[in-house]
């Protein structure tokens, strides 16, 4: 069988997702989404009429981020008007889901080349703006014992006994790795600086990274969800669903949870034949992919099940995957996955993650897939797996294999 190829991967730097301080906050979501789309076109000198579709993840597709931002962004990026666009949402998995859908379009023969990625301007369209009936609708939330994600993250930590030091240590390491990766130019191949219409740079570096964060500075932060959970009654809901935890403990805070940021990313995927026609050199092939559902109250424990299935499709075992990218939604998500799979941190998120650089919800999946590809090339490794948990108990995983320049 022929595999779906990845020809290129780009992303914007991530700007802090608060309108008053974020460097990208002055942009519109459409403007931001066009940045990676234009870069893919320009870098390959691509005839955009050969692109079969543009699939973009976006979690809160309302207001200026709504109205099928994928199609609008394709038009605004100067793609041929024959190129359609579709916006998809699987919460935090959306960016990688967009790639999975694109891969399906290629594999089915619907399209030769597909652009896939995501965008989220959290400074402009705050989280939950598109609604969340699983929390808001009494007919759903009450019987399901729904809780918000941050409290699910604390629930995982409580269930597994992760201490504040455990989660803070992971966050410190993420910051250190991200800082070092930037210093060594490890993101250089993917990063597309965001420029204004005059060519002036708006942002060329991930804005939220704090490489000097240490246990002491993180230790000073108050838990984010404690007062909220107690005020709202979510602590009791979590304890009802998981009575074995006794009392919920609060270890997550702004410093060991993914940061709220603005950002966009895109990859160019396609078939062997379409790549050849356009003179593209494949960088990797998709060997396996899977999306799964998991228990929705604890919500964030699905990546292992997703990886199990993606690896099975790839015919590979955990030990054969050289590098892992697991979205650092919350520190406990990473610790849980490592505990479940035995993957050690020297193979996982080696250039830091969302705790350091931020998690632009709809884009992150595409971002970490690009980061994984860059690092496979830099480290001269063969197999990588990118995976994310997603709201209401979901997860996605994609296994890729690097294609060496010569062996195309």
């Amino acid at each position: 069988m022929s595999y779906v190829q990845i020809f290129d991967a780009v992303r914007t730097p991530r700007g802090r997702g608060k309108a008053s301080v974020g460097a990208l906050a002055e942009l519109s979501p459409v403007e931001l989404a066009t940045v990676p789309l234009k870069a893919l076109k320009d870098r390959a000198n691509l005839d955009t009429s050969s692109i079969g579709d543009v699939v973009l993840g976006c979690v809160d597709p309302v207001a200026d981020q709504g109205g099928d931002i994928a199609r609008t962004a394709a038009l605004e990026a100067g793609y041929d008007e024959t190129v359609p666009g579709v916006q998809v949402n699987r919460f935090c998995a959306s960016g990688l889901e967009a790639c999975a859908i694109a891969a399906g379009k290629v594999a089915s023969g619907e399209a030769g080349l597909v652009v896939a990625g995501g965008v989220e301007m959290m400074s402009r369209v705050p989280m939950l703006s598109s609604g969340m009936p699983v929390l808001a609708d009494p007919g759903i939330a009450i019987p399901r014992k729904s809780i918000p994600q941050g409290i699910s993250a604390d629930l995982i930590a409580t269930l597994r006994g992760y201490s504040r030091d455990d989660v803070d240590a992971l966050a410190v390491e993420s910051q250190k790795r991200a800082g070092q990766a930037w210093d060594e130019g490890r993101f250089a191949r993917s990063i597309v600086p965001v420029k204004d219409r005059n060519g002036l740079t708006v942002l060329d570096r991930d804005e939220a990274v704090r490489p000097k964060a240490d246990m002491q500075s993180l230790g000073a932060l108050n838990p984010s969800f404690e007062r909220y959970a107690q005020k709202m009654g979510y602590d009791a809901v979590a304890e009802q669903k998981y009575p074995e935890i006794g009392t919920l403990k609060y270890v997550h805070h702004a410093g060991n949870s993914s940061q709220i940021v603005d950002g966009a990313a895109a990859l160019l995927l396609g078939s062997d034949a379409a790549g050849n026609t356009q003179g593209l050199t494949p960088r990797a092939r998709i060997r396996g992919l899977a999306s799964i559902g998991s228990e929705p109250t604890i919500m964030l424990t699905g990546p292992k099940a997703a990886c199990d299935r993606a690896l099975k499709q790839a015919g590979l075992g955990y030990s054969e995957i050289d590098l892992w990218e697991l979205n650092e939604a919350f520190a406990s998500v990473v610790l849980y996955f490592q505990e479940e799979t035995g993957i050690t941190s020297d193979r996982m998120n080696v250039n830091g993650g969302s705790i350091a650089m931020g998690h632009p919800l709809g884009a992150t999946g595409a971002m970490i897939l690009g980061t994984l590809l860059d690092e496979l090339e830099r480290a001269d490794k063969q197999f990588g797996c990118a995976t994310l948990c997603a709201a209401t108990g979901q997860a996605i995983a994609m296994v890729i294999e690097r294609i060496d320049g010569d062996m195309k």
Binding site: G131, L135, A136, D137, P138, G139, A141, I142, M232, G233
Partner: protein, 295 residues
């Protein structure tokens, strides 16, 4: 022919929809009363001589709501049959509030449950200034929920968060509190209630319910609305959701109903009212109460 409710039209064209059940201490919505009520509402619509409707009571208790024996019987009925019974009331209330003629209630005594729901469907409610009078929707206190549109109209008239919280536990109010919440148009001396209500009808020939006015937005669609329900759901779960199905269903009726116009919202409520009567534990509690009181 009417035994429980009479309709008398005066020289000004004001129809007195007068409740005075000869066999009971209090006016209640019994099957017989509903039959008569529906007939009178039809007449209000069709009789051009009628220019306004004044709802009055010949009893000290203005209206105590659903007849407990009838409500107890709801649990034995098929969903279809119960829908038919309830929908007649739903339609007659909706007809009253949209027929183009002003409707006012002259509340001279306790006005509770279905009785208060009837008053909420009127365009104005004047109550006697008597601290002993209670008004409101106490259904949840009995493990039941409003089914004649109360969840929808009260949350549209009073501050919606307060209205929902109060309906969830069945809080009732004295007339001053109800007035402050916007649930009563006026609290006036007992001897003047009828005249003031009638004067209001004559002065407000063109009245519309606030939720029927073009451009009415309501509370839904705001971040505060979503946030309120996030917290409410967690609290209801914390406080033992399984023990209070009526609270979950009231919350659900408010959450969905407030996001749409009143007419479908009334159906949203009614479907949940019927769902409540299908829950065995609610049925047992209610029937024990009815038989207990009959014994």
């Amino acid at each position: 022919m009417s035994q429980i409710i009479t309709l008398t039209v005066d020289a000004d064209g004001i129809a007195d929809l007068h409740w005075n059940d000869p066999t009971r201490k209090a006016n209640v919505f019994s099957p017989e009363a509903i039959d008569e009520f529906v007939v009178h509402v039809d007449r209000v619509v069709s009789d051009d001589a009628i220019r306004g409707v004044l709802i009055t009571s010949g009893k000290k208790i203005f209206n105590a709501g659903g007849d407990l024996k009838m409500v107890g019987g709801f649990f034995e009925m098929s969903a279809d049959a119960l829908w038919s019974v309830m929908a007649r009331v739903m339609h007659s209330f909706y007809t009253l509030e949209t027929c183009g003629k002003p409707v006012a209630a002259a509340i001279n005594g306790h006005c509770l449950g279905g009785g208060f729901e009837m008053a909420l469907a009127a365009h104005a409610r004047f109550a006697a200034d008597d601290p002993a009078i209670k008004v409101g929707l106490p259904e949840a206190g009995l493990g039941l929920m409003p089914g004649f549109g109360g969840t929808q109209r009260m949350a549209r008239l009073a501050p919606w968060q307060r209205a929902i919280e109060d309906m969830l536990v069945g809080t009732t109010y004295d007339v001053k509190t109800a007035e402050a919440l916007g649930l009563l148009t006026g609290v006036v001396p007992a001897e003047a209630v009828l005249q003031i209500a009638k004067d209001w009808l004559l002065e407000n020939a063109e009245v519309q319910q606030p939720w029927m006015v073009r451009g009415y937005g309501g509370p839904a669609g705001t971040p505060a609305f979503e946030r309120f329900f996030h917290g409410l759901n967690a609290r209801l779960t914390r406080d033992g959701a399984d023990n209070h199905p009526e609270r979950n269903l009231i919350a659900e009726a408010a959450y969905h109903g407030l996001q749409m116009p009143i007419e479908p919202a009334l159906r949203v409520e009614l479907r949940r009212f019927i769902a409540l009567t299908r829950i065995p534990t609610v049925c047992e509690t209610m029937q024990a109460r009815v038989f207990g009181e009959n014994a």
